[in-house]
Amino acid sequence: MTSANPLDIQPDLVVDLLVRFLREEVGQSGFQRSVLGLSGGLDSAVAAALCARAFGPSNVLAVTMPYRTSNPDSAGHARLVAERLGLELRTVDISAMADGYLNQERVELPLRRGNVMARCRMIVLYDLSVEWRGLVVGTSNKTEILLGYTTQWGDGAHAVNPLGDLYKHQVYQVARYLELPREVIDKAPSADLFAGQTDEAELGFTYATADAILYHLIDERFCEDELVALGHPRELIRKIVDRVVRYQFKRLPPLIAKLSLRTVNRDFRYLRDWEHSR
């Protein structure tokens, strides 16, 4: 069997593995239910569909969290996905909680405003996880994580993430395999933090380009000259490499100054699944 795009995956195999991953890792944490934000976009729709398969639709709480400037289409698409999957959809408008801070501190910069909204959503999800008795499932894909295109402690905060090792191209493949609504698959990806925003306009390159460069850079360990030989502009490669390096801090736990003989996560080394050996 040959494949046109080296990023192509076997979606049936991937879905089987990710459903098992969710069931086992969430189960080992003592939970049988999950909570996740449903933005109306592709990634959260795929994560929701995987959760529905893993835990059963009645054990998944989908939360849509619009801000007053959010595109109304987003909530509509979230509703469409929830209906398709048979999930309970709760709407929590974050305008009041976000504005409480944004107005008080007169925050104007779109980056800051966007980060505040993402962190408000994190607060809602983690609060509802207690009420729902379910773990918060993340929706960040590998492309976003490598580009650092996430808000630390915002959408980057979750207990488990089924999409974190899938490039955007592969998330699309899984979405098509799961037969998610066309409206969600076909629209331009957007963080919807301000009107008219699209990921690709903000990043300055397409996901397809980023995926191709990142796949060869990370998975295949190509060097810059080899990427240029593939036809990618050197300037763009450097821009992407710069993001990968610059945002490493978002991917790791905070630094701890080592003083003792055994320091957490340095030479005090246990998996999260350690808990289950008690």
Partner: protein, 290 residues
Amino acid sequence: MDCKVVLVQNNPALGHLHHNLEQHVATVKAAIDAGADLVVFPELSLTGYFLKDQTYELGLEPDAPILAPLLQLSKRISICFGMVERSREKRLYNSHVFLEQGRVLSVHRKVHLVTYGMFDESRDFAAGERFDCVDSRLGRFGFLICEDMWHLGGTYLHFLNDVDALIVPSASPGRGADAGGQGLANVRIWQTLLGAVSLFTQTFVLYANRVGWEDGISFSGQTCAYDPFGRRVGLLEGFDPGELALTLRSAELQRARAVTPLRRDEKPWVLLGQLERITGLNARRSTDPT
């Protein structure tokens, strides 16, 4: 060597010795009830794999009192299982223990510890230094724990020792879901390797690989067996725990070795002569002043 074997594809709870031991005992009892002669568990089947600092806490001597239930059951069935072995010198080994007739018949300590990519075994384990074969009531066995099989030396020594079957316990993480092939890439590679080794050595090759997840890393299962002709004679598909039962017949070994008498015609002295020259040269090179 005619015997009935059960290969186990288990999902141990990380570091939960008591729970895993109970599971082992239940599986062994079921194998006895099914009339099996030998039951084979995967690598580190008693403890789980990514142990890190738990390695130190879980080390046991193979005849530790806690393992008495398995030792007792081994009076009725031969048992191979994986554990963290603490030696008399207090070193920790990734070991596979062979229990038979109420005693520890052998312990194979993994020689080729994996320390690259996601693996860090050399940080926690000492490496074994030998590939000994084991003369069991059922026949002659050789052990290759996971990465041991990726190096030709152990396989070759077992081949020279005329083993009847190679036992390959494994904890192979699942990876590579690319559309260029069918199934996981690591599974495809393992199947190629297992088939080739059974063909080269003209032995049965018994592969017991675990399933389940540890902190986001899956184990790919696909426990299987190959006959001395390099043909797969059993496979557990999918990623669920389970058991694969099969019968090994001496006549198969005889037939394979009659068709192509590889061991009879092997010339280890040719290898030995060149090996001394090659390794001697390398040793001198590594100590040359620069």
